[in-house]
Amino acid sequence: MTAGPVGDGAVGDGASGPGAPEAGGGGPVAERRLHPFTPLRRAWVPIAATVGVLAQQGDRAARWVADLSTLLRLVTLAGVLLVFGVYGFLSWWFTHYAVTDTELRIRTGLLFRRTAHIRLDRLQAVDVTRPLLARLTGVASLRLDVIGAEEKDQLSFLGEKEAVALRAELLARAAGFAPEEAVRLGEAPQRELLRVTPRELAVSLMLSLGVWAALAGGIVAPFFVWWISSSPWAAVVTLLPMLGAVWAATVGRFLTEYDWRVAESPDGLRLDHGMLDRAHETVPPGRVQTVRIVEPLLWRRSDRVRVELAVAGSKNEVLVPVASRADAYAVIARVLPGVDLAGLSYSGSPDTGSRWVVPVWWKGYALALSPEVFAARHGRLCRRTEIVPHAKVQSVRFTQGPWARARGVADVHVDTGANGTVTARLRPAAEAAQLLHDQAARSHTSRATARPDRWMTSPDPDA
């Protein structure tokens, strides 16, 4: 077998625009392959599919196999393994990746060629994940979060050291360092900001009503089904998916959020977490669209909060699973520099009108504005505060239904790039109308002072 075409740009491609710049030096870009362990993982998928089909057709497959002699069985088995092995090998052989000054290119496919060009200045986050099996074999997968990237645009698997080095290089290039420097710089130094102890995490889960609701539902529902249908089998059938949900809400959450560490580096925030599957996420500066502070009912007594964040194109949601309010604010101050969270003064909805529009829950709505952020709060049992920097606001909407108008209140929605909308509900109508215009002006002017996409370069004068 000979090598595939190694020259650059041999493949037609739809991902990059016509103006996509070529590699800076003009020389050929060094293409690299994934870790040799990858074929095993790739071959695993069709093998699992075959086993699944055989299991479903159990009787017929057994009869068919019984008709064959031992030799023939071995030959069939060897043939199947060979086919899948070759498939895995070829898919590994034809997958290349390369880092240029501006892009990460992933070229893949034997019959159907596909080239993904991922622009580094559009980078929203970088994740290195090490699932349990991969940890045992010393490999990791790396994913660049950009808007519109697909599941298959991740590099799995790379050697662990290689993955970390590549992450450092990608971040350095994305930050705007020169290529030679980017390779030499290596991992940016990091400083630990916060660490969640297992005990604290376990206590916080015990105190969360959602966990108890999942547990209660998981225990009661099968018995209820048993009682209704008087067949234990039906109970078992309902039990299985319920167990999945209960697992995800309790043990699964504990395993994912185990040993949660937040560290700060010039490349942004580093989040490391997980007991079985370790994940290492990096969120570069200025990528966070919304920060959400969640305060469940039972946590408020001890002043604990959970912090979630929204980054466009990324699946990472949690910033801090549980922490005291002061610690959480210190971490948020790194994400939203210059914002004084403790100093925000929330003003509630007017009680004369609001109580008729949203009966009991109106008391949970509140809004705070500062020169940097728009912060809206809602919820009475579980209080959620959503904070959007003005520079991240994409559009502002004012809505008012007939009933709300009769009561002199209106809603203001602020749309962000992470496909989220933060709503300030039930504001006095005149204030809301004014807020619409003020917010548009604020989001416009604050963009001028925002950091550049390549965060280590000086701000672009005409950006």
């Binding site: 929203q124 808007i147 990528r287 669209q289 466009a312 991240k392 994409q394 559009s395 502002v396 909407r397 004012f398 809505t399 008012q400 239904g401 007939p402 108008r405 929605h413 749309d415 962000t416 790039g417 496909n419 989220g420 909308t421 109308a433 619409l436 215009h437 917010q439 548009a440 002006a441 604020r442 989001s443 416009h444 002017t445 963009r447 001028a448 996409d453 950006a463």
Partner: protein, 163 residues
């Protein structure tokens, strides 16, 4: 260049929608209500009894009501081009106002379906990085839609801002 909206809020120059949209919507309404009225009248008249044919009148009432609603809705639509953003206002009972800063526009789209083309109309749709942004101006005259598209695209480029 990069200034906030200053002073423009006072003298907004609102632009309403051309009459062609109302004509199109009312024509469609009259067509469908008339068709339903005739169909109901004929079916009931033949199957139940001649007196029941009067039930077709129900659709005429619906049509008349819709006629008024369409007029009110059409009057409620308006937009204003400000120095730094586009303002769209609409709705009678459920009022909605949308502000889209020019710098946030990712894509400006002019569409025109077969019926719209017949009435010489085109719709303009703005997209930002947020999917929730609902900035659409229906029923523009194609020349105006294209003028607006080119102007918005130029302004968007001049004030371009990322995520």
């Amino acid at each position: 260049m990069d200034t906030g909206t200053k002073g423009e809020t006072g003298d907004l120059r609102w632009v309403g929608l051309p009459g062609g949209l109302l004509t199109m919507r009312r024509t469609l309404l009259a067509f469908w209500c008339g068709l339903l009225a005739v169909a109901t009248a004929v079916l009931l008249g033949l199957l139940v009894g001649p007196a029941w044919a009067a039930a077709g009148g129900f659709w005429l009432v619906v049509g008349a009501w819709g006629w008024v609603l369409l007029g009110r809705n059409w009057r409620s639509w308006r937009y204003a081009e400000r120095a730094d953003d586009l303002l769209i206002s609409r709705g009678v009972l459920w009022r909605e106002q949308t502000v889209v800063p020019y710098g946030r526009m990712q894509l400006v789209e002019v569409t025109s379906g077969p019926v719209e083309r017949r009435f010489g109309l085109a719709s303009l749709q703005l997209h930002t990085a947020a999917a929730a942004t609902d900035a659409r101006i229906p029923g523009l005259v194609p020349a105006e839609a294209e003028r607006l598209r080119d102007r918005l695209a130029a302004l968007g480029e001049a004030r371009s801002a990322g995520l």
